[in-house]
Amino acid sequence: MPDLLIELFSEEIPARMQADAREALKTRVTDGLVEAGLTYAAARAWSTPRRLVLAVEGLTGRSPDLREERKGPRTDAPEKALEGFLRSTGLTRDQLEARDDKKGQVWFAVIERPGRPAAEIVAEVLEATIRSFPWPKSMRWGTGSLRWVRPLHAILCILTDEAGAAEIVPLEVDGIRAGDVTRGHRFMASDPFRVTGVEDYQAKLRRAKVMLDHEERAEHIWHAATNAAFAQGLEVVEDRGLLAEVAGLVEWPVVLMGAIREDFLDLPPEVLQTSMKAHQKFFSVRDPKSGRIVRFVTVANRETPDNGATILHGNGKVLAARLSDAAFFWKNDLAVARAGMGEWLESLSHVTFQSELGSQAQRIGRIATLAREIAPMVGADPAMAEQAARVAKADLASEMVYEFPELQGTMGRYYAEAAGLPAAAAEACETHYRPLGPADALPDQPVAIAVALADKIDTLAGFWAINEKPTGSRDPFALRRAALGVIRIILGHDLRIGLQAVVNKQLLVHVMALNLDTAEEREMFVLEQMVDEIADHGVFGAAFHAVLDRLAHRGEAPEGESPDIAEGSWLARMRKRLPALSDDLMAFFHDRLKVHLRGEGLRHDVIDACLSMPGNDDLTLLVRRAQALNAVLATEDGENLVLGFKRANNILTQAEEKDGVEYSFGADPKFAEAPAETALFAALDAAEAAIGPALAREDFADAMAAMAALRGPIDAFFEAVQINTENEIVRRNRLNLLHRIRSTCLRLADLTRIEGA
């Protein structure tokens, strides 16, 4: 059982590509070997900046001989059939065997595929792997046509038998012939050497100052860095992404810790950290007492006679130059901030947010107006919410954020503080972007919440208005994230917001802005009136109606003439389009809500049952209802109640269809015959008496409990009586009683949507 060792030696492979490349090399080669009939015990891949390595242990020495028998046509079949069989087997007629079969003589083909030596298979599989390797970006070099991530210089490919003898796999790819030779560290041990197997390779590489295992390098770096920091009472700021990247940049990691010049320590820690990481891949070292970043850790790729003094000195100088830039931006930005940030706000009117949705300044204006309106719903001061929204994105025009876009918001807070704005506004600058993902923290101050909601809802309404919705995996404007953000903020803070009215108003704002140049003044006037009406009516249909009504009766249209609302007119089209947009956007919210609640363990049919209730744009209420329903369905009473409800509903629906009437009124206890029937009347009276007040105080648990209490009486009722009796009066009375069951239950949730019961 030989071991296989492959090393693809190239110029420096980008660190970020190494993990995927290791995986691809391992999968493609081992899949290819197995497909060709070989088996193996274990496979491992490693990478350094200059090499991609695969070791496959316990590979079979050859693939097995294969023998396959195939039955062909009868010997007296037409010539054409035989020709077809010969073609498909690749044999000639004299190689076929005629055998007796039940129906006469039949041709049989016996195909023998002798096994092949592993080396031959490895050569084929590796060449195919190299030629079709899935690099995210690849290149040509010199006069060749081979593509690799950077020029490929050498291929080491050997099979080592149990006795330790190595055989070079015969392979040549675009003039690169596989061998058993590699090289060590580029500067510390660059002479070539021969290797005979995996262990020999690793040992010799280590002597040649190459730590092959990427994980070992990462561990070594982390260990050395934390030790160095600990010795001075400091701690390294953890950053796994950076650690993996840095480990992919060196073959022989040497950790060095250096000081940050005193005059840069006043920069915000986020700026120090971001600048050091982005430009120089330094780790930040923090003083746990002050929380400030006071040192950096850099990872060199070599040992030096002066123990890294020259390298550290050089890195320190580069850092100083970089931080001088950052300090320059900080100083300039602070000057603008202290002057009230007017310069930035002005310049944002020249920055496009999205070509149809206008400039950042226009966007900020919309968000500010909306934040003011949302403020009372979230317990924020309207004027403060508006003020915060007006400056929340000012830092986008700052020099620091231009240089480090990832510092947006973070800088906003510093600059708002420098501008002397209230703490709530500064807080909003930083946290209104949140949550950035399903696990990110929420904004938690009322003003920040108002701005965060306004920002996200304005974005969603805007992109809906220009028909730029997410499709499949394409969501370039992160609209799903925005919708989830709105949902998480509302639910996380138990906010009571009629989302539909807010959404409708903002859709209207966008539609007006988009049609400002083309719509007529009187048409715009109608939409303007609608903005106020939406606040009262919430939905477009009623608002349109109210506005048009008023115009017709009071002649409120400007310039006398009423706008054209006939079929096909712009307003008539808007009258159709706006509600459609609104429904579509609400459906998007509901979809995201379902995904979110499923993650929280709520069944989708439970959510559907509550979504079809009125007031479903109040997400907090919706979720409370769903949670109460979920809880009650988990009880035996609840589960069986749904069965009873469905039975009642089915019988009633069938009877109503058959009789062509609606049994919706007049169940009278005096026609009750069985005690169970009388008891059900009493139970329904009691349930209705409890459910009404419970719903009024939004106590869904109580309401659901009252509903679940109907389970016994309903079951007993169905046990005791026959609905469709011959006595028509009694039958009608019972159907009307079923209707009471249905209408009582449907006040809580649409139980017809519950599955399985």
């Binding site: 110029e11 420096e12 980008p14 660190a15 970020r16 900046p49 970006k137 690849s138 290149m139 040509r140 070099w141 010199g142 006069t143 991530v149 950077r150 020029p151 210089h153 580029r186 500067f187 940049l249 060196v250 120089q280 330094f282 850099t298 060199a300 790729n301 070599r302 030096t304 006679p305 002066d306 020259t310 390298i311 000195h313 050089g314 890195n315 100088k317 580069v318 850092l319 100083a320 130059a321 001088s324 830039d325 320059f328 020249h350 920055v351 496009t352 070509s355």
Partner: protein, 315 residues
């Protein structure tokens, strides 16, 4: 010139010139126009196209109006020097050749940490891209190392290897200088020692003021459009020159106009009058010019065109 540490900015340049001359490069002179980077020199942009082998090295003064800091920033300048090497096809030992050049200017690999860090190069204005690295010396970016894959929308076959050294930054590091203006330009023991600041401080101030506040944006816009129009007009001419009867495609005169348009765009950008969306449109317009020049260049002898090729096309 002696071994060991160089003593001045100009000595570093001279050593690079000597080194690349010894490797067989033609040592060219700077292109006589305002460019944003050494890549714009036709010896790189155009010569990276076509099949003919090429090896050239040169210093190129480069201008980045937005980087002006009135000579105050320790390492930001609106006018600086790049050292540029282009070898086609890229030789297999280009990394070693490059490292040899660092050794030639006194960088001792026993004490310094040299790293090749991923940096894919792309010039949207030239319609060009390549893969390679920025080369770090002790965390300082000292060069850009690129294997050209496309220029002006044309695949590079063969591939050129391009090296770009930011000379001021590299020299400051080698000489141990913290502020560019304090760097010795010639030898500090010369009868008249000159610092970088003696040569360039005043011009940095003057250009910074002009670039940021005084340049006439209306005129610049007009110049941009004039250069754009002229580039197209030149290339619209028939290939055959009526005066000589020869096939003369005027690629270089047209490409000069492309360079000009690019520089006017940079100036407009520094004046802050180009919005984010307009920016893309301007870059696209310059790229269209570069693309036309590239298309024309591969039709010339220097671009690998031969009579026989023309005949094949004719058939």
């Amino acid at each position: 010139m002696s071994d060991g540490k160089p003593r001045s900015f100009q000595e570093i340049i001279l050593r690079l010139q000597a080194y690349w001359a010894a490797q067989g490069c033609a040592i060219l002179q700077p292109y006589d126009m305002e460019v944003g980077a050494g890549t714009f020199h036709p010896a790189t942009t155009l010569r990276a196209l076509g099949s003919r082998p090429w090896a050239a090295a040169y210093v190129q003064p480069s201008r980045r109006p937005t980087d002006g800091r009135y000579g105050e920033n320790p390492n930001r300048l609106q006018h600086y020097y790049q050292y540029q090497v282009l070898i086609k096809p890229s030789p297999p030992d280009l990394q070693e050749l490059y490292l040899g050049s660092l050794a030639a200017i006194g960088i001792d690999f026993d004490y310094h940490d040299i790293r090749f860090v991923e940096d894919d190069w792309e010039s949207p204005t030239l319609g060009a891209w390549g893969l390679g690295w920025e080369v770090w010396c002790d965390g300082m970016e000292v060069s850009q190392f690129t294997y050209f894959q496309q220029v002006g929308g044309h695949d590079c076959r063969p591939v050129s290897g391009e090296l770009t050294y930011g000379l001021e930054r590299l020299a400051m590091y080698v000489l141990g200088i913290d502020h560019v203006m304090e760097m010795p330009f010639n030898d500090s023991d010369a009868p008249i020692p000159l610092s970088y600041g003696d040569v360039f401080r005043q011009t940095e101030e003057e250009y910074s003021r002009w670039n940021f506040d005084v340049a006439d944006t209306g005129k610049l816009l007009h110049f941009f459009e004039a250069a754009e129009a002229e580039c197209g007009r030149i290339l619209d001419h028939p290939q055959t020159d009526p005066r000589t009867g020869k096939r003369i495609i005027m690629v270089h005169p047209a490409y000069d106009q492309c360079i000009k348009a690019s520089h006017f765009f940079n100036l407009l950008d520094a004046r802050g009058v180009i919005s984010v969306t307009e920016r893309q449109a301007y870059i696209g317009r310059v790229r269209a010019l570069a693309k036309r020049c590239a298309d024309a260049f591969v039709e010339t002898n220097a671009g690998g065109w031969t009579e026989s090729k023309a005949e094949i096309v004719w058939e």
